[in-house]
């Protein structure tokens, strides 16, 4: 009698723990699904200049009072990686270390400019916390509108002549690196680099 109860109890515990593990796995999968489906809708609405078009010209002071000139060419011969971010955007935060590393590695070819929109005080705190002081940090609603930024983080690669070379939602390190890879190898068209890294532009909701 007691033995039966012990065995039954044992079986029940095993079942309960297995079920709890299954619930955990399901919750995790739901999270992955959310990540995959979230950005697709907004991406289809993406406006702004197409790849190959001149980038909108913008000039003004950044968050730290430094003058910044975007688009129009005539710079120091380097391309520009314009990255739209915002405080409280977790994907942006996870991307920042990658951007900072790339900015150092590609310093000869590329300058990195951050852009955002919203209350300057929150922006300044965000920039300081994330150690972005070394980069131009533009706070401008017009710039975001001109580039048709829907979801963040959004990257635009502008070459030295002021032409948009690649752009899109960059949700992961892979997206950003493929964007820069296209630039480094002189790949002119978006089709070429999409072919090289499937999903970089079209389904930037991307990798799980």
């Amino acid at each position: 009698m007691i033995e039966t109860l012990v065995v039954s109890n044992l079986l029940l515990w095993v079942a309960v723990i297995a079920l709890a593990g299954l619930v955990f796995a399901l919750a995790r999968q739901i999270g992955v699904l959310h990540e995959r489906i979230a950005p697709t809708g907004a991406l289809l609405l993406g406006g702004g200049p197409k790849v190959g078009d001149p980038a909108p010209v913008w000039s003004g002071g950044d968050l730290f009072g430094q003058p910044v000139q975007l688009g129009g060419g005539g710079g120091d011969g380097r391309g520009t990686l314009l990255l739209f971010v915002a405080p409280g955007c977790p994907v942006c935060e996870s991307l920042l270390p990658v951007v900072q590393r790339l900015a150092v590695e590609e310093a000869e070819r590329l300058r990195v400019v951050f852009a955002s929109d919203g209350e300057p005080e929150a922006q300044r705190r965000f920039a300081e916390q994330k150690q972005l002081d070394a980069f131009p940090y533009v706070v401008s609603t017009e710039l975001g509108l001109a580039h048709g930024v829907g979801r963040l983080p959004h990257a635009v690669l502008i070459d030295a002549a002021g032409i948009v070379r690649a752009k899109g939602l960059v949700n992961s390190r892979e997206h950003l690196e493929s964007l820069l890879e296209a630039h480094a190898r002189g790949v002119a068209s978006i089709q070429e680099f999409v072919a090289r890294s499937p999903g970089a532009e079209q389904s930037a909701g991307g990798h799980p």
Partner: protein, 179 residues
């Protein structure tokens, strides 16, 4: 009065919880400092010090919980720390600042503030306070080992699952088009 089996389960589960919480935060202490800064309760220059202090407190609580003579102090400190965390979350919920990371799991999982987080912490506080009840005088037998190990495993998995579901909540709200 509380059965000694439940007491051991509470000790084990809470100790495990605090150790994992501290380890998650240690993986990226700077991120925890930033999360702490986002609560806007501690001046930014002090956030680093407070972050280190909180991680040390979590580790200390875990050690106290598994040390036989320090057990009641462990439960009391656990309840106190959880009350502190819950108060910090509640203040920011009242301020309407939901979209910040709670900092609970470091880089492993982003969890935004919400009523669910407060409810979760309330359950944990109840668990920690239950550990302060006097144990029923009965000796533990070998057979008690099964429910102890099994219950700790179950509670850990259930806690992880609940955290994931809480973390998914903002994505679900966005999908439904709710603010």
């Amino acid at each position: 009065m509380i059965d000694p089996v439940l007491l051991v389960v509470l000790r084990g589960a809470l100790a495990l919880l605090f150790v994992t919480a501290a380890l998650h935060k240690l993986r990226d202490l700077h991120a925890f400092r930033v999360a702490l800064g986002d609560y806007e309760l501690v001046p930014w220059p002090l956030a680093g010090l407070v972050a280190t202090g909180l991680v040390a407190a979590e580790l200390g609580i875990a050690v106290m919980l598994v040390t036989p003579w320090a057990r009641p102090w462990g439960f009391a400190a656990a309840a106190l720390l959880l009350v502190l965390y819950t108060a910090a979350v509640s203040v920011n919920l009242l301020r309407g600042r939901r979209a910040i990371d709670c900092g609970c799991f470091g880089p492993a999982l982003r969890l935004e503030l919400g009523p669910g987080l407060v409810a979760r912490n309330a359950l944990l506080i109840a668990g920690a306070l239950a550990g302060l009840l006097p144990p029923t005088p009965r000796a533990l037998t070998a057979l008690d080992g099964l429910p102890i190990v099994a219950a700790i495993a179950f509670l850990s998995a259930a806690y992880a699952a609940a955290s994931r579901l809480l973390a998914n909540a903002p994505a679900l709200r966005a999908l439904r088009g709710e603010p």
